[in-house]
Symmetry: C2
Subunit: 423 residues, 2 copies
Amino acid sequence: MARTKKYNAFYAQSGGVTAVINASACGVIEAAREHKDKIGKVYAGRNGIIGALTEDLIDTSKDNKKAIAALKHTPSGAFGSCRYKLKSLEENRAEYERLIEVFKAHNIRYFFYNGGGDSADTCLKVSQLSEQMGYPIQAIHIPKTVDNDLPFTDNCPGFGSVAKYIAVSIREAGFDVASMAKTSTKVFVMEVMGRHAGWIAAAGGLAAEEEGDSPHIILFPEIAFNQEKFLKRVDRCVKKFGYCAIVVSEGAAYKDGTFLADAGSVDAFGHKQLGGVAPVVAQMVKEKLGYKYHWAVADYLQRAARHIASATDVDQAYAVGRAAVEYALAGKNSVMVTIDRKKTKRYGWTIGEAPLDKVANVEKMMPRNFITKDGFHITDACREYLKPLIAGESYPPYKDGLPQYVRLKNVAVEKKLKKKFKV
Amino acid sequence: MARTKKYNAFYAQSGGVTAVINASACGVIEAAREHKDKIGKVYAGRNGIIGALTEDLIDTSKDNKKAIAALKHTPSGAFGSCRYKLKSLEENRAEYERLIEVFKAHNIRYFFYNGGGDSADTCLKVSQLSEQMGYPIQAIHIPKTVDNDLPFTDNCPGFGSVAKYIAVSIREAGFDVASMAKTSTKVFVMEVMGRHAGWIAAAGGLAAEEEGDSPHIILFPEIAFNQEKFLKRVDRCVKKFGYCAIVVSEGAAYKDGTFLADAGSVDAFGHKQLGGVAPVVAQMVKEKLGYKYHWAVADYLQRAARHIASATDVDQAYAVGRAAVEYALAGKNSVMVTIDRKKTKRYGWTIGEAPLDKVANVEKMMPRNFITKDGFHITDACREYLKPLIAGESYPPYKDGLPQYVRLKNVAVEKKLKKKFKV
């Protein structure tokens, strides 16, 4: 009887990390360990794809079951991630060839790439080149992005937890401002991520369930900012409800495409200051309406907030990791794992797949009918879509009042190639 | 047999609200309801002391047991708070006389004032004037301040929850930055509250348990900022650990007292921009060291974050509310309820009291031995003091992924005085 051949797997994290990308890593490693007859070791790229290019691989087998399980409740990228976009095959074929070389040297035939749109593209190119070079690699893309902008999948792992953080935070801040408004702060501005798509800003809208609830205004990147209209709305809101809570996307822009953040301030030396649309909006309110304001910029706190992760998000992140391994073992190649929403009344989801050549470099924007006609809030259709994604709490374990996140050993695999590769 | 006389109680929230000030309100109201033979109704001031001055009282008896119990898990000030400092008796005796008048009209003889240093002062004056005017009021101060700067009490309700939020957030953000540092963000700056005292900034230090842990640097208002020393430390940190996470207090200042935030930026019109020490520090790092940075300003999110409140803080906030009622019934007057730390090895606390005339207008600063010699972190003594204050999780109930906070009916009490009072 012929023995099934055993190959190693490569796993890497790409782009901005999330509260649940490690749950996907956990899914990949746990599923692979259940198939020791077919998958040898899971090697992780140290700092993402750079680890593959420089042959800096991590032997995940050096971390025990308990440590790997703890990835499920640990935010950030346990093996390091990177912002490194491989050039096109034409521009830098050497990079792709190097990947194949490294994989060959370490008997790697499964390529699991955990990231957003750019990494879907890389994943596709790897699978194409492996064919051309006659070294078979099965490339499976595991979706991850807080931006929720990947096509085909109903939603992206990582998004649900940011969405929950934003909705919870603007509800809490809204309660705070409401109680202070009589004599103090009347306008509160909270800046959220999402440079191109307003999904995260939209999630803030979930906090507003009844008229007058926070947030009262959402500024989307999809809707051209009109200062006059905006200020009128703020003023009306303060007069009606006593205060006004605003969620603004970092990507909010004027009609001509200029980001509000860029129209902002210069430092003492006259240099343009980076970032911060919230202070720009707050200053605008103060100057034109005279209301006392406060503003917050959650920045990384929002995407790292594993302490308030969505249980749905954690489950899905874990599931897409596991599914990637199962797909690979089933012989699939050049696909992205997707989350498919069931067409039932009560929310349900299953795992599906989409061909990578259709996924790569396509951004899924907010449908216009998810934003109210006036451009300042979300519609019921949007609410229905978003609601289940933040459902459920999945608390990490605590000790002495602090969440216990795991740090893996990240033991390096011995190098086999003589040639160094500079990235 | 003589019937015990029944009097009403007045309760008001003062100054910036917290994640647990409503737990104190819950303690007051629940304890009062257990003594219906002695306490008639608890009237809350709408928007704090302003409600008393304008005779805008809320009848808390109109909210049922369940609603009052829900205050324990609801952040913000349920009856509205205010920033309104009564002038001195000499400057505006009329205000104090008005308070007594309103109390007289509504048969109020218990005055529970829930706030920080300023309100302790108001509370004291009320008790002094009631004596002079021959209308007996028992004034009990219930401590509340995220700043943790009240004397006599070991710590202040409200602080423990902010402390926990900050420690959790900088731990999570630290994990995030660590995974991105290879190709992207190397320095992360998080701004926290505390204009005069560095207690909140210090709490961030709890997240760092081992060498290299986030945060690496804390900038306290107590330590004069030295740019050269600071940048050297940042650089060393990035070189050693790959990244640097910084907690900066909004009150961080130069030797001459100038706030770092004020040395900041001007807007497009040349106006000085308000707020934001984090972007100032981040910009400094970028300019002098060239590292890619991110920054966050938690602002109200930190003090409203009931979702990650400290269980110890919630328990203590509730207990000081209950104790205020018990003290009043025991005949006490002109005292602040305190939290006393037991001298046991394992953390324990009891409720105590301090005379208001000793409390009013005294700020408790961080002891110098709580800050490391180099001025950039907390000492073990500080850690020992802070640790138990963030212990335990006290999660609010959730529905559809969102915390369920209560909104009371806040039914107004019929006015009895003809004279209006303008504040």
